[in-house]
Symmetry: D2
């Protein structure tokens, strides 16, 4: 059994982690931390867990003192939250899977510019690996510090990888227009995320300034072997879960939709969590699963390719991918605990 | 392995059956029927199943001819839909679990009065058992024909059973005000269930005429050992899944909320799928599970007891309960394939 | 022109008041107050008002100092919020329309018991009138202090008045099962009202303890000329606006649905804002209007009558009714500024 | 008084027309037609109209025979629906405002290619004018046949016009990623638009093939004085009303967000229905109004400009704009009957 600690268990990503790990046959959840709910039973915070988990949430300090009890630590905090605990855990040889952004960006300056804080654990960046399994699988195996990708970068990089890695598109032409459900904004008590403020409406936010921009660019640049600069525009959809990323790029040569589709199907043919489809992805068909659905179309009139990729932001875009990474670094079957079907309706 | 056939697999209840059975370690789905989608691959009807199930749907005629291939038949059709197939299956010794209403009402006249059709399989009614497991468990074991309860009756009978069975309330005083998500209306292409017509609105329907009324009364009467006549008012909630049943009854003697709660906790103490809670049930905490959450309050000012029970109408109110029945009649662990947690958010 | 001040303009009821009054041909909005947004332009708080209203919100202190500028003061604050400003305004002969609860309950002890605060303006209670126009019209005319009814009491009292006033039902038998959209919970930043927490779910709340209970009872008792004690259970519907109140009562003698319907149509035949309908009310058909739709059914099997009434909680249940009261006390046409149609879809 | 006939009054755009015209002080609605509801009272189809309009819907044949009774005919039908009635009406000198696509595309071949039907009234195309008032106002005045713009083209052309008309962007670089509420799909009883199928999900549709593509291109080309070919991707948002169009284009020279914003504010400074805002548009702030909110950002890293424009698809994108056109051609104040504020929440 793998003994796991979860730091930040009462955010939505944390809660999904508990949900997945509680059914994972090789994992034992040792403790859960919560900033605002320390001392409360987890199933009093999330009553869906009544009868399943009634551990009391502890605070970060106690979790740090009890590091020896765990084999792996999942950290689901905001920027800056993972620095100290990661240092402590690494010293003790404990695996870290960070669902926050602290170890995703390799360039410290870039991190500090976009996240507006100092990076206090830069010495660990070399040991960190970007945990987008389908694209970095071999690099991840054997690593101790996993930077679990952001939700938008997961959908977007999976959508664009086949094109970018194979030089099929103009790197300067990439535009990513992405849309997320409201759980992506977290569980904070903000007026703008109230039902009455966010239902029955649609908006863009963070236009030209969203922090997932350099993360997407870093990953695409690595695939392309060349610098990629994109335009990235996130939007908020009145639904709880799901991301659809609509990506545009100029083809370098004429290709048909069928050719590109075949190419994608070949690219992902061994992947259990990627489904290349002939039609258009809908977030409902991946909701509650670790899947990514991808569809493509060539716009012959402009010679652009349009790629649409759909994930559940809380699973493939957060907790599910974290468990996928854990499976990988502990030598388990990659799908272990993750082969549940999307739930509909 | 139990070989199962599903008749009516492409309605919402049918789809949930496939979803559950596909993960049930003791079940093999032999065939799926669909009236409108015969010949289509199941995952073309419900794309969440892509990569999991790509069986072609067959029609009812073929299913009838291939009855010998199955051990159990789930029937998820409208009233009248189960008569013929049930007769055929019973002749061959195949277990039937009918998710429709055809074998729920013991009194043929009552059935015909409320459902407005002739009952063409009345000879089977004696062999049928009402499959509300928590209340009829011993009767169900060993039976071949299970009338799987309706969604409202499940929530309501579980909510009221402790009171009614123990003579704590005036039987003539019971009022049931129930609320259901829109999936309860099925997958038919009706204007009134369009997003634009049913979102952001709330209404009652079928007031004094809903067909679940005699079913609830039959079950409560059996528990009480006396005739129970109720007022039942269903409402439609702008959400996909979930039922909350709010029940009112006059207490025969003074009791406190605490006394009633204790009584409920004792009544359901061995049940895996019923959670008696101190607070008020919310459908979100049972969504995607086979659970029923129950809360109670005594209104001291009127000496009424108010019982609230919440289920997922498609699982505990349909497909999950059907599988629970199957587990029971095949001698499996009752929770087999059903111990998944509610999904939130 | 009537010069109006609005205290608490940035809550949802306040915002709707501004929305209505801004189009009212006889009203000039002199000032708006906001606790949290003082100093901000109103259209920065609610951007739908861009291009229509860019007054800066002021604080309560300034509003109090500038009382002489207004003819009428609308107060849309929580309990206790209206005591001081009402005293000041009454001294100066300014009309007060209080959308909060402070002057609704005639019995000070009852107010203090349910609202858990001292009533610091009890001397004004005699001068206050309960502003449910359809039921108290003549009492309201000429009054200076209007207690604008709560949202649930408005829907419920309009629904039950014909029965209660004419002695058609057993007074001890009344049960009110009411359902409200989430705007009823206000604009506070509470986790439970976040989109992800309140969408796709349904629950009861405040069971046996909701503060609208004594208000409904007071109004029904006044109509009946006898004490009425009810059971009242509010629920939260995943929609922004709307209330449906489903009321149950035992008929004293046999009556048919048609008889009751005719009786209701006669009772409300001169009312511009009440529509008695043959079918079942749906909140969508009154959304964005000052209307109340009422439907009834007799349950012959139990001799109960079931009354359903639907309003827009923010308009007929708050701001619209407040303007209706203003029209009445200023001698304007009662429908002035209020005859807009419901908006659908 | 202007006597108006409405052809296709029971679709969502038609219903909104009735809603607006019923409050328009200079308009008398002479008749309403409905294909599926002929003979039914309009308020039985849309119960929000109870007490406001109880005219019986007539059929198209009767409307054609009674053309002499009207001064203006609004046609809200699918492609091909306006050909015959427009010919009849034009002969009689009756003004036509067609909310469908039949007279929007000047090039018959282009129309026939995208709409897959023959154009049977090509002789009228020269007399038709594209009714996007803010951009074609002078051309519209005095015209008899108005092609009321599509919903996506309205939002998109208003958003891009200042850039395109002034040669600020590369014409080949324009990408339009648009998102619409579900009312845009009409009131047809399609499974995909059921609540359970379209809520809590997001998808693209009609990628590279949507019929609004040539309409947008025609309008942008006219503004640019040069051919514009775009990529256009529409998406479906789980909300009833609203469109947000996110547009991307390469700037020809370096400009800042502030410069572009100033330029937009100047461009639209006399427009009553366009609000250029410093922040990001949200559809909720224009819901229920004839407004268009526009925001812009320059992405300095790529030298792209991103324009976001929000409208209510049923009002500015359909019925409201139709009335705006009517006001214009009848010499009324352009805002007459249209200066209602957005409704929130």
């Amino acid at each position: 059994m793998i003994n796991a600690g979860i730091i930040g268990a009462t955010g939505y990503a944390g809660e999904q982690l508990v949900w997945i790990l509680n059914n994972h046959k090789d994992v034992n959840i040792v403790y859960l931390t919560a900033h605002n709910y320390a001392g409360m039973s987890f199933d009093d915070v999330y009553s869906n867990f009544r009868g399943f988990i009634n551990q009391k949430c502890i605070d970060l300090k106690e979790a740090t003192e009890r590091l020896d009890e765990v084999d792996v630590l999942f950290v689901a905090l905001h920027q800056g939250g993972a620095f100290e605990i990661a240092k402590e855990a690494m010293k003790k040889g404990i695996k870290i899977i960070d669902l926050g952004p602290d170890f995703r960006i390799k360039d410290v300056n870039c991190y500090e510019e976009w996240y507006k804080i100092d990076h206090n654990a830069a010495e660990l960046l070399d040991e960190a690996v970007y945990g987008l399994v389908e694209l970095n699988r071999e690099d991840i195996k054997g690593k101790a510090l996993i930077a679990n990708p952001g939700c938008y970068p997961t959908a977007t990089a999976l959508g664009l990888a086949p094109l970018v890695k194979n030089g099929l598109v103009e790197l300067k032409s990439i535009i990513v227009d992405a849309k997320s459900g409201i759980s992506g904004a977290g569980r904070g008590a903000n007026i703008q995320n109230l039902y009455c403020e966010s239902s029955e409406s649609f908006k863009a936010y963070g236009v030209t300034t969203h922090r997932h921009t350099p993360e997407i660019e870093q990953q695409l640049s690595a695939l392309a072997g060349d610098e990629v600069i994109i335009s990235f525009t996130p939007h908020l959809v009145p639904m709880a879960r799901g991301i659809l990323s609509t990506c545009y790029a100029q083809l370098k040569k004429d290709m048909t939709t069928e050719e590109i589709l075949d190419f994608y199907k070949e690219f992902y043919k061994d992947e259990k969590f990627v489904r290349v489809i002939d039609g258009f992805p809908e977030t409902k068909w991946v909701k509650g699963s670790n899947l990514c659905d991808i569809g493509v179309r060539v716009d012959k009139r402009t010679n652009r390719v349009i790629v649409m990729s759909a994930i559940d932001n809380l699973i493939k875009g957060a907790a599910g991918q974290a468990v996928q990474n854990m499976n990988l670094i502990f030598g388990l079957e990659e799908t272990e605990g993750l082969n549940f079907m999307p739930m509909f309706p």
